[in-house]
């Protein structure tokens, strides 16, 4: 088991830059999520850690050893492919034993080890079957088995649940997380599904357009987004952005939104011009006393809560309210915001302004 350090890693394919200087650290035993939309460079980053791509520049440390230019066979990292990539001409047993055979392990030890892993994953009864006829879940388990069978230093997983049915995914996600907790192995997991990332990850890196946008725990990423991209990508519905022209001074605790003074966390950075007031739907309260008002456009009933879409002087806004709250379309309702949870952004750079809330998280800008 090992710590992985990614340092200024960059990858170019001809004229195309897939990953721009990226740095982050994956601690020993962490379940680490690489999250982002398709084409953001997350899979390329994963493949560079595994050695399937060599970085154009930068360093990768595994357990303190620089490995960025080593072939994958010398890295002791296992990889679970999205499409599983089980060897089609071998049965389940042979698929599982293949990584051990390459190390020259004795036949008896191989057998014992494969049976061990098969027991952990509950696939003892299909060892003799060809992989072609297996169900999606069993293929997934065989692919996992092939990864864990040789006790590698770290696991790379490229959207391993992407090929499964939605229903089965949830179950497999739990199984995967339980397996990780049991083995305690450093795992790097690529996904474009923010819910999956929040659910399973100890830490998340959010990537977009070849750049690391933010790196932290799920709570930090959700509560203290460093950029508008992260705030928008994480959470469903995503964070509300209310654009306004104005300025905030360093130390300010309020901003002026269309003549209404709104509480914000104490700002550590002054700014002016085109700014954005960012607030999560659950931090919007509906109250008749509020001076800042919005007109109800639509309501979506979700069981315990409802999502109310409103038209405000600063644009559309979604609020998460208790299901019992009465809101009729066309009605004008006063709005309040939970001030200590608000993030201000600079619209041009897309970055969050530093404040008491996100201090220590947002270092750049």
């Amino acid at each position: 088991m090992a710590q992985i350090i990614i340092k200024n890693v960059r990858k170019e394919f001809g004229d195309f830059t897939a990953v721009k200087e990226s740095s982050f650290t994956i601690e020993d035993g962490e379940f680490f999520m690489l999250l982002g939309p398709s084409g953001c460079g997350k899979t390329t980053t994963l493949r560079m850690i595994a050695g399937l791509e060599l970085p154009t520049s930068g360093e990768i440390y595994l357990d303190g050893e620089e490995i960025s230019q080593k072939p994958p066979s010398q890295r002791d990292i296992a990889f679970v492919f999205q499409m599983f990539a089980l060897y089609p001409h071998m049965n389940v047993y042979k698929n599982l034993s293949y990584p051990l055979v390459s190390q020259g392990m004795a036949r008896r030890d191989v057998k014992a080890k494969v049976e061990d892993v098969a027991t952990i994953l509950g696939i003892q009864n299909i060892l003799k079957k060809p992989v072609g006829g297996l169900s999606g879940g069993d293929r997934q388990r065989v692919a996992l088995g092939r990864a864990i069978v040789r006790d590698p230093k770290a696991f790379m997983m490229d959207e391993p649940l992407g090929a499964l049915d939605a229903e089965f995914r949830e179950h497999m996600a739990e199984e995967l997380r339980a397996l990780h907790d049991r083995m305690g192995a450093t795992t790097v997991y690529v996904t474009h599904d923010q819910l999956e990332a929040m659910q399973m990850g100890d830490k998340i890196v959010v990537m977009n357009n070849a750049v690391v946008e933010q790196f932290g725990t799920p709570q930090e990423i959700y509560d203290k987004p460093a950029t508008m991209f992260v705030a928008d990508f994480i959470g469903s519905p995503s964070m509300n952005f209310l654009p306004f022209d104005g300025s905030v001074a360093e130390g300010a605790q309020t901003v002026d939104l269309q003549g209404h003074s709104m509480t914000v966390p104490r700002q550590m950075q002054g700014a002016s011009g085109k700014l954005v007031f960012g607030v999560r739907p659950e931090h919007v309260t509906l109250s008749d006393t509020g001076a800042y008002r919005g007109e109800v456009l639509a309501t979506e009933y979700l069981g315990t809560t409802q999502i109310i879409t409103l038209d405000t002087p600063n644009g559309a806004l979604k609020a998460r309210a208790p299901a019992g709250q009465v809101a009729t379309v066309g009605e004008k309702i006063g709005l309040g915001f939970k001030g200590e949870a608000v993030t201000l952004f600079d619209e041009n750079s897309g970055r969050a302004l530093r404040s008491e809330l996100n201090e220590g998280i947002v270092t750049h800008g």
Binding site: A50, G51, L52, P71, P72, S73, I77, A78, F79, F81, M83, F84, A85, L86, Y87, P88, H89, Y98, P99, S102, Q103, V131, G132, G133, G136, R139, R146, R150, A163
Partner: protein, 312 residues
């Protein structure tokens, strides 16, 4: 329940399609059957009109194919009664067997040259196709086009330069020369066919093998090759059929040592009149290796072994 289904063809159309296929098979098989039957006819039956479908089978054609015969005096014939069944067949015409014909040798030449060039074409073709499919090769498209362009004119158009070149190099009428020539002609087909097969094999398999601790060559050998078996088998059949049947270069470049069966079989006609049964017997034996090879590899032609292993 309706009798109409979108996915399953009706019984009537299945019957219709089935009869069409059988009819087509019969039509294409008539000449083959005719050649095989003629091989077992006597020379008289072979040229009788109307053609005989029912006749007394004889191995005369095969005996004539594998032997050379001479006419002998009555005294010699009386003094040496025939000892074997094939000598008896020859004796009907007051002839004796002088020795084996060249057919055996020529047939062996065909086997060596045909299978030798097929092996070489497929071996080189697989390596080249893998490289073109998986690695970034400078000018890859131009190289592939160049390889294909060797087939843009009939090979016989360059017969004279090749003839002169072979004479200079001492490759005329040698097995090596013919193997190299047929390999040169077949390699473009092999590279193109195999490249498309290898392109269809997901790279994840090799990547999985690389991760599992194997070298690039081991991954190619242990993971890619078994899955390319279908493509390799069908490519080998195409290459063998070309090399096996090639006539023009064989006539031009071989005369003795390395002569293959195709230029030899017609020469049978010239020996002792129009011996159609012997020609037919030669053609029948000539057909067998390709048929056996194709039947042996048909499993690979019919079935894709990668089915279902990767979810699409």
């Amino acid at each position: 329940m309706s009798s109409f289904s979108v996915t399953e063809p009706s019984t009537r159309s299945k019957w219709f399609a089935g009869s069409l296929v059988i009819l087509y098979a019969l039509i294409t098989m008539v000449p083959l059957a005719w050649i095989m039957l003629t091989g077992f006819k006597s020379p008289a039956d072979a040229i009788s009109y109307p053609p005989k479908v029912i006749f007394d089978p004889t191995l005369e054609g095969y005996v004539n194919l594998f032997t050379t015969r001479t006419r002998q005096t009555d005294e010699f014939l009386a003094a040496n009664p025939p000892e074997t069944w094939y000598e008896e067949i020859v004796r009907q015409y007051d002839m004796v067997i002088a020795g084996p014909s060249k057919f055996g040798e020529r047939f062996l030449n065909s086997v060596i040259i045909g299978f030798g060039s097929t092996f070489l074409s497929v071996f080189l073709g697989t390596l080249a196709a893998y490289a073109f499919s998986r690695f970034k090769i400078p000018l890859a498209d131009d190289l592939l086009f160049f390889i294909l362009s060797t087939r843009m004119m009939p090979p016989i158009a360059v017969a004279i330069p090749i003839f002169l070149m072979y004479r200079q190099l001492g490759l005329s009428d040698t097995h090596l020369g013919m193997i190299l020539l047929y390999t040169a002609v077949n390699i473009s087909l092999a590279v193109w066919l195999l490249k498309s097969f290898i392109d269809g094999i997901p790279t994840e398999y090799e990547e999985a093998a690389l991760i599992d601790g194997y070298t690039r060559f081991q991954a190619f050998y242990k993971v890619v090759l078994p899955q390319a078996a279908t493509g390799i088998a069908s490519t080998a059949i195409f290459c063998l059929i070309f090399a096996w049947n090639e006539y023009a270069f064989a006539v031009l470049l071989t005369s003795g040592t390395a002569q293959t069966a195709p230029p030899f079989i017609p020469t049978i006609i010239g020996v002792g009149g129009l011996d159609w049964p012997a020609v037919a017997a030669g053609a029948t034996i000539f057909l067998l290796p390709v048929m056996i090879f194709t039947v042996a590899l048909r499993k690979h032609l019919l079935r894709g072994i990668t089915f279902g292993a990767v979810r699409k």
